[in-house]
Every structure is written in C-alpha cells, then in structure tokens.
Amino acid sequence: MAQFNEMYQGTEVRAPYGRLQDWVAAMPQELRSLKQAEAEALFRRIGITFAVYGEGGDPDRLIPFDMFPRVFAAAEWARLEKGIKQRARALNAFLVDVYGRGEIIRAGRIPGRLVYQNEAYEKAVVGFVPPKGVYSHIVGIDIVRTGPDQFYVLEDNCRTPSGVSYMLESREIMMRMFPVLFRENRIEPVDGYSEKLRRTLASVAPKKCKGEPTVVILTPGHFNSAYYEHSLLADLMGVELVEGQDLFVDGEYCYMRTTEGPRRVDVIYRRIDDAYLDPLCFRPDSMLGIPGLMDVYRSGGVTICSAPGAGVADDKAIYTYVPDMVRFYLGEEPILQNVPTWQCGKTEDLAYVLEKLPELVVKEVHGSGGYGMLVGPKSSREEVERFRAKIVEDPGNYIAQPTLALSTVPTFVEEGVAPRHVDLRPYCLVGDRIELVPGGLTRVALKEGSLVVNSSQGGGVKDTWVLAE
C-alpha cells in the first residue's frame, strides 16, 4: 500500500519540512539521545503522565514524546480549519435538533432508532436549548491523512476530549530544547488555547448570570488519568479546579465552597461523564456529582460544558451520518470526508464485511482506545476468525472500515530516523464564536508498520506545527 510521507516525496523534501532536513542532519546521535533524555525528564518533572481519555492502561505511565515535529503548511491548515469548524457547527446543530424537533429524523436522513435508543441520548434534557445553542463546546476531531490533499475524519469527540495538555506541553518543551528551530521557522503559537477556552466558556454563561461569569473545572479527582490536564487547564485559565463535594446546590443556583464563603458558579467545565453528574437525575449511587445540579441547569441557573447529552453526536453509529448533517443543517458540502464505513447491523453491509474481513478494520460501536478492534491486514488468520465469530454474534455492535494507508512523519527510532504513522486531534472551541488554535495533538504509532496510535497500544506524541503564511 502506497503511504504518503509528509516530509519526503521520493528524495525531495516537501516545502513545510524544508528546514527540518538540516536540523536532523546536523544532530549527532549523542546529542539526540541527550535531548531525548532531557525531554523525558521535563515531562516527568511536570508530572504529565496520563493516558489519553478513555484509553485505560496505567495512568502513571509516561507517554513517549517524539522530538521530530509534524508540520502543516499554512494553506494545508487553512483547509483543515474550515473543515473542522464546519463539522463542529454541524454536530452542534444536530444536537440542538435531536433534543428539539428532530427535523433530521422526520426528514428521514438519520434513523430515529440510532438517536432515540442510543444510550448517550439523555431524555432529561429534551426540549432544553443550552446558552448560544451549544452542546459541545470542545470538539476533538480525530483526523488521518492519506495523501497531499486527502484527509479523513476517523471519529468525533463531543463530550470531554482530552490530550490538549499534550499539545501545550509538547510545544513548551520543544521551544525550550530547540529555540533555534523556532527562530528559523515561522510557527503559529498554540499558547492562546487556554485564553480562548476561558473566553469560550465565559461566553456561554447562563442568562441569569450578571457580570463576569465564574467558571470552574469539575474533575473526578486526582486518581483520574487526565487529572494533570484538568489542573493544568485550571491554572492556565486562572479558574478553580473543583470536585463534586466542593460544589452544592442551594435554591436556584449552584455554589462553590470557598474560604470566604459560598460563591455562585456560572459555568462548569466538567470532566466527568453524564451518568455521574447528579445522583438525583442520573446514577443515584454517584459520589462524584452534585445533587440537584440538573434542576439548576435545566432552569438556566448554571451552564454545563459539554452539555449533558452531547455524547449522542459522537457515537460511532452516528458518525456515518455526519456528512449528511453538514448538508442538512448548513446546506454545504462537507470539506472533510468520512472514512467509508460499513454498519454490520445492516444485512448487506454485514455480508460484505464478512467477505472482506482480512482487509478491513473493525471497531465496536461504543468502544474506544483501540481496544476490542480488529486490524485485518495486521492480524493472524486465527485472530480474524475469532473476531468473525464476535461480529456474527452481535452484528449491530460493530462497524468496519477499509484499512487506510495513514500518512507517515519521520520519527526518531532506535536506528535513527524512520517514517511512522500519525493521526491528528485538533480541539475546536465552540461558544459565541468558533475558534481553533493552529495545531493539535499528533499521535504517532511508534511500532514499525503499526497503524494504532493510541497510547495504550504503544503510541506517542509529537509537537504539531502550523507554519505562518
């Protein structure tokens, strides 16, 4: 399978990587090892040792950092940015619609079953339009590349996509270790992210909020694998990091306990799942949430980001329909393409999938993190047959996609520099406007030939550069 190398076209170096050729050529092995050790020490010192959300695994494991940056030219990014923002708008329009009149279902464009019987569809918020009509305030869209102009969306993350701290820290560490690179290349900064995030959250404060909104980040606690990220974002935004027990409902509002007494909270950027938000509305055994929060939310006393129920838009079965959402709500053609997807729950799709199984990637509809998936071409006959039995048993639980020839970026490996497969997760912010910092999280499959970039499966991260015009 021909693989697109983002730096080399044969022996030619593609323009955005022009200056990196000399940089890597001028770096002797000893210096490289030294720098790599320095990078690891820096990551350890700041304590950034979490797994990307939903990936499980040892939360204290260090995700490998690769110093070779991934680079986008200004024009490449401009197109990506348009596509990402378009998708984020469509996903939010979909959420407002399915909790409202459900026009897209009435129009027969998406089967009602996939939406209304979806576990992530929250009956408790039907009929409620959150401030500014935004359900998903931080949309993480996982994108892969297969050619100079070929980008595909792998999945959307509309709940609480994590990993943005890696984008910020990777940049910080690269600037500290290789200041010359940042003088030689005109690289768009990403450090505006936290201010943009704060502004986005403040922009969706409820109507009842007068004056400057009080924003907090709600974390499940320090045992959570992304706790570092929660505390970093709170620090950078200058807002409080709270746990459920720090907040309480009194009358029509939600308050935070502080040393100076209770302080009203207007916007909660929650990093806990819907099910745990409020034991009076969702799971009654939840110790992480705030009793009565949903009644306050529904009556406009506080904003919850992402809005409860946002998860119905990023389900893998709904994913197939996102291009239709773009056409239906925005009247535009989708700029970013979906990976062609077969729904094993459909009889004709299932027949095709079972026939072509050794060539396909098969995923669980509700799964994440690279677990419970089959990469046909990389699997033994036995593994394929075992997976076939699972699909036949419960076809509706699986989707299949062709094995994409993911692009590669040069990566430091044992033997020197070698191409490794990458993906990209940009973080699109949606409030009273839509913003995207130029960059994102590039994950790299460090194993030779591997297409699985998840950190739980041997993936690492890279700094992602967008060059200024």
Binding site: G102, Y116, G127, E252, V296
Partner: protein, 268 residues
C-alpha cells in the same frame, strides 16, 4: 370527579444531616383528564429551588434544606377535578419522541420468561395488543404487598408471580418493549373506593404508546385503565426515573421514611 389529596412523606435521620437536596415530580400533569383546583407542596425548612417543565411534560421542582436537621417533612395537599378518558393522555404537551421509551433499564429488562409472556398474546392492532399484554401481566403477577421491594426487577417479580403496582408496571413496560411498543412508568395517586379491592393510594401504572391515540395508561395492578379515580404526576423509564421525590442527604446518617397518603372524593 373531585379528588383531594393529603400526602405526607417524613424523612427521619438518626443523627443531624448537613443538608438535604430533593427533586420533586409532585405536580399533577396538565392534560384534558385533570384540572388542578388547588395544589400546594411544602417542605419543612426547605428553600424552593429551580423549577422547569421537562421534555416529558412533567413539572420538576428542586428543593434544598439547610442543616443541621434530623427530619424533613414533605407535604402535598390539593384538589384535582378529574375526567374519565379511558386511559388516553389527551392534550398533554411533551416533546420526547415515543421511540425513546423503547430503551430498557435494569428493572424493566426482559428475561426469557418476560419474552415468553410478551409473545404469548396476539392481537389485530396495537391497542388490542396493549390491552392483552396488560391482562397477561395481571394474570401472571398476583397483587400481594410485602413480597417485593423497591429494587425488585420485573423479571424477579414475574418469577415470584407476586408483587405490587410497581412490579406490575415494570413488567408491563418490559413486555410492551419486547413487542416494540414504547412504554413508560407513571406515578400518581389513586382514589381508594369501598369496593373491597386492594388499592395503593400512592400509585403507579404504565403508559403504552398507541400510534392512533398517543399515550394510553394501563394499570395491571387493578386490571383497568386509569379513569377519574386517578391523578397523574409524572413519568419515566422506570420507578426510579419517575419517582415523585428523589433526594439525598449529606452527612452519612441513616434514613428512615414514613409515608401517609389519603385520597378522598371531595364533598360536593
């Protein structure tokens, strides 16, 4: 029929709790079958919180009670003018798509026995099927208080062949969903007349969605459809989701609950 309700729920804690938060579905539904004459909910030491009408049409009211307290009294008093609509929930404003109620929950999940029960009846249309399913549940589960508890599932109640209105409602919801009929749990009150049958004044039944009529109530515990003796409060996937009072106390004390309900026909 003019019904008066006096419903008192008393929560007792074995030591003072710091605070109590509650979410109520204690307001009679607004539909053609009932008209509120007067209605009042009071909570001892309570601060009235936010209120909203949810997508299912229920009035939801939050309350907070600042501690330390060792008891909380929730008292509901009011009068409702009811009309017999043969169970049809006419004129009820709601926006949740009926299909949402095809999803099962732990207490309403069908096991093999519930599936078998669901498929044991045949009927020419959805309404007739709904009646047949309700009758099948009445036959399969005898009314008997004390054998089941708050967390008994429909499958367990069917295995016991005994239960109370909550179990009947869960079982009917389970079998209806097996037959692809959206179904939900309804909580409310029932006027206990003097006919000698067993009644529960704080009552529960099920509603099934019939395309030609909309939501229709069925009360397998009493082998009937809700009529002018019923007052409807709210709905949900199951008993917990439709509970008239959901609450939680901070402070880790042991809680005891004492409920008295009187539903009477008002003197003309």
């Amino acid at each position: 029929m003019r019904l008066t309700v006096d419903h008192m729920t008393r929560y007792l804690y074995d030591r003072p709790v710091r605070s109590v938060v509650q979410s109520h579905r204690l307001t009679p539904s607004a539909f053609a079958g009932q008209k509120v004459v007067d209605w009042e909910v009071t909570v001892s030491g309570g601060l009235r919180g936010a209120t909203h009408r949810d997508g299912a049409g229920d009035q939801v009211q939050g309350w907070t009670i600042a501690g330390p307290v060792t008891s909380v009294e929730v008292r509901v008093r009011g009068t409702v003018e009811t009309t017999d609509l043969a169970g049809v929930l006419r004129g009820h404003r709601e926006t949740v798509a009926p299909e949402v109620y095809l999803r099962d929950t732990t207490p309403t999940r069908a096991d093999v026995a519930l599936e078998t029960l669901a498929r044991s009846v045949e009927a020419p249309d959805v309404l007739a099927l709904a009646h047949a399913l309700s009758a099948a549940v009445s036959d399969a589960i005898a009314y008997r208080p004390g054998v089941t508890h708050a967390h008994t599932t429909a499958a367990e109640a069917l295995a016991l062949a005994e239960g109370v209105c909550q179990d009947h409602a869960h079982a009917l919801i389970a079998v209806a969903r097996v037959r692809n009929i959206p179904a939900r749990y309804v909580s409310g009150y029932l006027f206990a007349d003097a006919d000698g049958n067993a009644h529960e004044a704080a009552h529960a039944w099920a509603e099934l969605f019939v395309p030609t009529l909309g939501w229709v109530g069925f009360d397998p515990a009493n082998r009937s459809c809700p009529d002018e003796r019923y007052i409807r409060l709210g709905s949900g996937f199951d008993a917990q989701d439709a509970a008239p009072i959901r609450g939680i106390a901070r402070g880790g004390a042991k809680e005891e609950m004492d409920v008295t309900v009187a539903v009477l026909a008002a003197q003309q």
